[in-house]
Amino acid sequence: MSECGSCSACPSSSQLDRMGLDVGKYDYVVALAGNPNTGKSSVFNALTGLRQHTGNWPGKTVTRAQGGYKFNGHRYKLVDLPGTYSLLSAAQDEEIARNFILFGRPDCTVVVTDATCLERNLNLALQVLEISSRVVVCVNLMDEAKRKGIQIDARALGRDLGVPIVLTSARTGDGLDALLVAIEQVVTGKVELHPHRVLRDGPFQRAVAELVPMVEEVAPGLPNARWVAMRLLDGDHRVRQALLSGELTEIASAQKVYEEKIPMTIAQGGRE
């Protein structure tokens, strides 16, 4: 049995330097989102060298955990969000996850999904793609999938979702090097992203379409105006407040800066 505690099994051990809890200075923030029980914490532990407990029952991570790692000369702060099925409800854990993806402005959000149950997991992935385009979808538990005779076509999935797809088995360490590379490519803007957006015709979507220009007027350049419009229709207090306080406008301008200055941030190094 190869365990990720042993260094031989570690991916890219030459470039990966686990920093554990020591995340004083970092270049990029990476958020880990996912359904409960998808091995999200295993991915987190494998990358940071921490050993957050991962029991096999849903809803173990109830708070946000942080850790760090260094890869190819860059320092990353990794934030493990609570496992959620969705980002639409106002439940406490979903709100933590949602708020961090939106307001915490991670440089990349990794959605950890369960290969054995892709359909249910894509529900969350599609919702994250509505909020942010800087997403990597990590299809985890590939070892379980293999055991059950499930095969995943990463290219087809990548075509449909429009973001990098990485197949991993975090417990054994398989695929984690590819994940590190994919994250790097997203945070440094080396990969083109065309996130999938859910479109349907109906009164709801027409109402969304009507609101989108108004959102864009308030916060020009906001990457997820459509999502903000949807949340306003659904009655999301936090989003409403963020609009009133100007927080969303701020995010929009930060996004512009990011798009213009990608090569600069790479050169700059630490930002805190």
């Binding site: 099925y85 639409l88 409800s89 369960d114 249910r120 659904d234």
Partner: protein, 318 residues
């Protein structure tokens, strides 16, 4: 100690004022006349105390008194609406999110409505997605104090065979309301009256048939609705045998709030394939496979999931 006593006294006085305004608003809304005597009686205060109350209300500019008739002023009206808003939002919250039985929420909301601040109320409002009506179908006033009005007709006066939607269930008197709830009638339900006699009212939602006494039916209010497409009742998930599969057709209207959102999030949306896998050895819950994962549902939740088995799917195609 003294300040504490004073605070209690002040709170009590405020509660009385707010109750009085609420009652006056109700009379206004229903178009009934309100006299000093009738209001005093409704509030259960002695005539001498009532006299003091009127003086106070008048001094604060909340009511106008002409003779023994009371009229609520615009200022009093807006305060009353704030109280009503708090009351109905709390009712909505207690039923949908805290899952308190519908029959108990009125009394609980009565206690909470006096202890409110506008900010907390708007957070509550937003967290539930700005509901338009409370669990009884009464409109919830907006933060600006706008109360929308719908013209509804009691079930007793509804024509046979005319498609209708239930928009309001009167929560007073409590005993009648309890009977409405016990019958399984719910807000937003689309029905058709089959039989209407002075003895009983029979109606159906194409799932089940309901029989109510006129005194009960009189507290159920309807508006016209477009006719329902499907005439055959859909089976419920509880009827699915172990090992069998079906397609989810939707969640019924009685399931609201948190539970509904959670079931949707787990993938119990229209069109999802669902298989009953196995039952707990105590008989409940049952584990269902849906969208690739195994989810345990208690039977009282599964009965809100409408399904179509393969046979009646075929019927639909024909």
């Amino acid at each position: 100690m003294l300040s504490w006593l004073r605070r209690i006294k002040e709170t009590r006085r405020r509660v009385l004022v707010e109750d009085a305004l609420k009652y006056l608003h109700k009379c206004d809304w229903e178009g009934t006349a309100s006299t000093t005597a009738s209001v005093g009686e409704a509030l259960g205060v002695s005539p001498s105390k009532a006299q003091l109350l009127w003086q106070q209300l008048q001094a604060q500019g909340l009511v106008e008194i002409s003779g023994d008739h009371l009229h609520i002023t615009p200022l009093g009206e807006s305060l009353a609406l704030q109280v009503i808003r708090a009351h109905r939002l709390w009712e909505k919250y207690l039923v949908d999110e805290a899952r308190v039985p519908l029959a108990d929420v009125h009394a609980m909301a009565d206690r909470r409505e006096h202890n409110r601040n506008p900010e907390a109320m708007s957070v509550l409002d937003a967290s539930m997605g700005y509901p338009a009506t409370d669990p009884h179908g009464d409109p919830i006033p907006t933060a600006e104090g706008v109360l929308s009005q719908t013209d509804s007709v009691p079930l007793t006066h509804w024509a046979i065979d005319r498609p209708a939607r239930i928009v309001h269930l009167e929560d007073e008197p409590v005993a009648i309301f309890a009977q409405i709830v016990a019958a399984g009638v719910y807000l937003g339900q689309r029905i058709k009256v089959i039989e209407s006699t002075p003895k009983r009212i029979v109606f159906t939602d194409h799932q089940e048939t309901y029989v109510l006494a006129p005194i009960v039916a009189g507290n159920v209010f309807l508006v016209a609705s477009e006719p329902m497409g499907r005439e055959a009742p859909l089976p419920r998930l509880t009827t699915l045998e172990l090992g069998a599969s079906a397609k989810v057709q939707g969640l019924d209207g009685t399931l609201q709030g948190y539970t509904r959102r959670r079931l949707l999030d787990l993938g119990l949306t229209k069109g999802a394939q669902i298989t009953a896998e196995y039952r707990s050895f105590l008989g409940d819950p049952v584990a269902y496979r849906v969208r690739g994962s195994l989810i345990a549902l208690r039977q009282d939740q599964a009965q809100h999931v409408l399904i179509s088995t393969n046979e009646n799917q075929e019927q639909n195609h024909v």
